[in-house]
């Protein structure tokens, strides 16, 4: 089932136990919306291995899916046609970075002005994570999402 662009993530087969927090895991996926389902399965498994579960994990996968969908819809893939997704631990949180190789295109410069179908991605990401970071330069757009591992440690109503 795994194409070369979709390698089995290295850490996913290590049989880590609860409490172990492995290092960063990363995949590159073809910039096609038909890849979203497999991306979510990978991200969900990786988040679980990094200690994120339950409601927190579901919300995190939804948020990450928004960032990857944007990279596919609005971004520019790397030369090999892929975009990158990376998860890593950072203290009590998990950080996911979604990266494509193109500049950010502000909504007002898009040719299809936002219809009722669009324009909610960043609102979802912000509501479903503890911190959202967007880094933009002419050669890359990186979205970084931070999520506390467990709902209890959540920043909540801060």
């Amino acid at each position: 089932m795994h194409s070369p662009l979709w390698p089995t993530p290295p850490k996913l087969s290590l049989g880590l136990r609860d409490g172990d927090h492995p290092g960063p895991v990363e995949i590159r996926l073809a910039a096609r919306s038909s890849e979203l389902g497999r991306m979510r399965a990978w991200v969900s498994e990786a988040a679980a291995l990094l200690g994120c579960d339950g409601k927190s994990r579901f919300e995190f996968v939804v948020a990450i899916n928004e960032a990857v969908t944007n990279a596919i819809r609005h971004g520019t893939p790397a030369d090999d046609g892929t975009i990158g997704v990376r998860l890593e631990s950072d203290g009590g949180a998990i950080v996911c970075s979604v990266c494509d190789g193109g500049p950010f295109v502000p909504p007002s410069q898009r040719s299809d002005p936002t219809s009722d179908v669009g324009g909610r991605g960043f609102a979802f990401m912000a509501a479903l994570t503890d911190e959202l970071e967007l880094v933009v330069n002419p050669g890359a757009t990186v979205v970084r999402l931070r999520k506390q591992r467990t709902a209890e440690a959540h920043a909540g109503d801060a």
């Binding site: 919306s33 038909s34 979203l36 389902g37 979510r40 409601k55 579901f58 919300e59 996968v61 939804v62 899916n65 928004e66 969908t69 596919i72 819809r73 219809s115 009722d116 179908v117 669009g118 324009g119 909610r120 991605g121 609102a123 979802f124 509501a127 479903l128």
Partner: protein, 118 residues
């Protein structure tokens, strides 16, 4: 290659039930949109969209529902969501959309709300 299934059911004359199952993401949202909009174009006005069998939902799918709701609203129609999947309900609540799209736990609640509104 997401899995999506949409079933359509007519109930006592006016109300239409759309049962959605699978992953409603950006890949599948156009399919959901076609299903709903073809029924709206055909003149249906009261919709219950049952998301209980949905395993994943994204902002474009919710955008499709909001778009249909706005269109129906403008013509005196309505659209309610029924969902007993806590993960999916949680998304609606966390992003603050339960105030935009009425969200019910059961068909009974949804029918009661429709009857109340009529």
């Amino acid at each position: 290659m997401g899995y999506l299934e949409v079933n359509y059911q007519e109930i006592d004359g006016d109300v239409r039930i759309l049962r959605v199952a699978g992953d409603v993401d950006f890949d599948a949202a156009p399919q959901l949109k076609r299903h709903i909009m073809s029924r709206v174009d055909a003149g249906d006005r009261q919709f219950i969209v049952d998301l209980s069998a949905v395993e994943f939902i994204d902002s474009t799918a919710i955008g499709v529902l909001v778009g249909a709701l706005r269109r129906l609203d403008a013509n005196g129609g309505s659209l309610l969501v029924v969902c007993d999947n806590e993960d999916i309900r949680g998304i609606f609540e966390t992003v603050g959309l339960e105030h935009v799209i009425p969200l019910h736990r059961s068909h009974e609640d949804a029918f009661a709300a429709l009857a109340h509104a009529a």
